[in-house]
């Protein structure tokens, strides 16, 4: 491994880390905005998803893994999505009181 690669491999995690901190600060700041319930939830969850993707992709080295790892991740997330959406097909349409 040459020295160039070595510095690279230190720089990237630190950059990603900086990004994560910035996003955390952003999450806290934006939570003060008055955008209604769904808006706040949407902002918070999108920021969290970006952060999670950063961790998955760089810290957990998905960027170096073969395609199959990404496919598995896709299957898992799709399933999660299905569980949430279908459960809410009940709860969003309940007649309350």
């Amino acid at each position: 491994m040459n020295t160039h690669e070595q510095t690279q491999s230190f720089r990237l995690p630190i950059l990603v880390f900086a990004g994560l901190i910035v996003l955390t600060v952003l999450t806290v700041l934006l939570s003060g905005l008055d955008v209604g319930n769904m808006g706040a939830l949407l902002i918070a969850m999108s920021l969290a998803s970006i952060k999670a993707s950063l961790v998955l992709y760089y810290f957990m080295h998905l960027n170096h893994e073969p395609l199959i790892f990404k496919l598995f991740l896709g299957v898992a997330f799709l399933t999660l999505l299905v569980i949430f959406v279908l459960t809410f097909s009940d709860y969003s349409f309940r007649v309350i009181a």
């Binding site: 070595q6 230190f10 880390f17 955390t24 806290v28 999670a52 810290f59 459960t87 809410f88 309350i96």
Partner: protein, 219 residues
């Protein structure tokens, strides 16, 4: 009869092991997903109570803990990196820092929990509800919490509790890895265990990334 080394142990398949470990991580993820689903459903039906209850949580503490966990993830990455480059010493120091950060997270968490316990926000309240208004567990004059808030605190304690449990498991695992690194069975050629330990640690981090806004921010 004769005893034989297992053929699989001869040609170890590092990538396959990692693949399997990722699958294991998904099961952890789904474990939490069930909690998140319960959270989502009750939040949607008790929005006001959830917001009120969330306000009682200290955003500052949550944010500090988030930063601590993110930092520990970074040191974990760097530790693995160091190990792969043969810098065992650096790897060990970085791993120790990671463990220390995990411990710090738990200490802060326990203070937060302690404060909530004192305010009768968890079991006491729930027990009060179970036993009716005259419950001896409630201090005189204490008001009953609305059910939405009870649900919020119940979920808060169980979810952060499960998360803390994962931190503890991760911490113990890191200590074991540290020990093996000293003994030399985890080294530049065989970084697999540290790598998987790191994956686990990052997953715990990912889960916290979602817990944080859901409990501390969306108020």
């Amino acid at each position: 009869m004769s005893e034989l080394a297992h053929p699989i142990e001869h040609h170890h398949d590092e990538e396959g092991t990692r693949l399997g470990f990722w699958l294991f991580l998904y099961t952890e993820l789904f474990l939490f997903a069930a909690f998140f689903l319960v959270y989502a459903v009750y939040r949607s039906s008790h929005l006001e109570d959830f917001k009120l209850a969330a306000e009682s949580l200290n955003t500052g503490i949550g944010a500090v803990n988030t930063v601590i966990l993110l930092t520990s993830s970074l040191t974990m990455v760097l530790s693995l990196d160091a190990l792969k480059k043969g810098a065992i010493k650096a790897a060990k120091v970085l791993l120790m820092v990671t463990i220390a950060l995990g411990a710090a997270f738990l200490v802060i968490k326990s203070f937060e929990w302690g404060a909530k316990f004192e305010h009768h926000l968890f079991l006491q309240t729930a027990k009060g509800i179970a036993a009716g208004h005259g419950s001896p567990l409630l201090t005189p004059g204490e008001e009953m919490l609305p059910v939405g808030q009870v649900l919020f605190y119940g979920l808060y304690f169980i979810m952060t509790g499960t998360h803390a449990l994962h931190i503890i498991i991760g911490g113990i695992w890191m200590l074991v890895v540290l020990f093996w690194m000293s003994k030399g069975s985890i080294n530049q050629e065989k970084p697999g265990v540290l790598e998987r330990c790191g994956l686990y640690w990052h997953l715990v981090d990912v889960i916290w990334i979602f817990l944080f806004p859901l409990y501390y921010l969306v108020a």
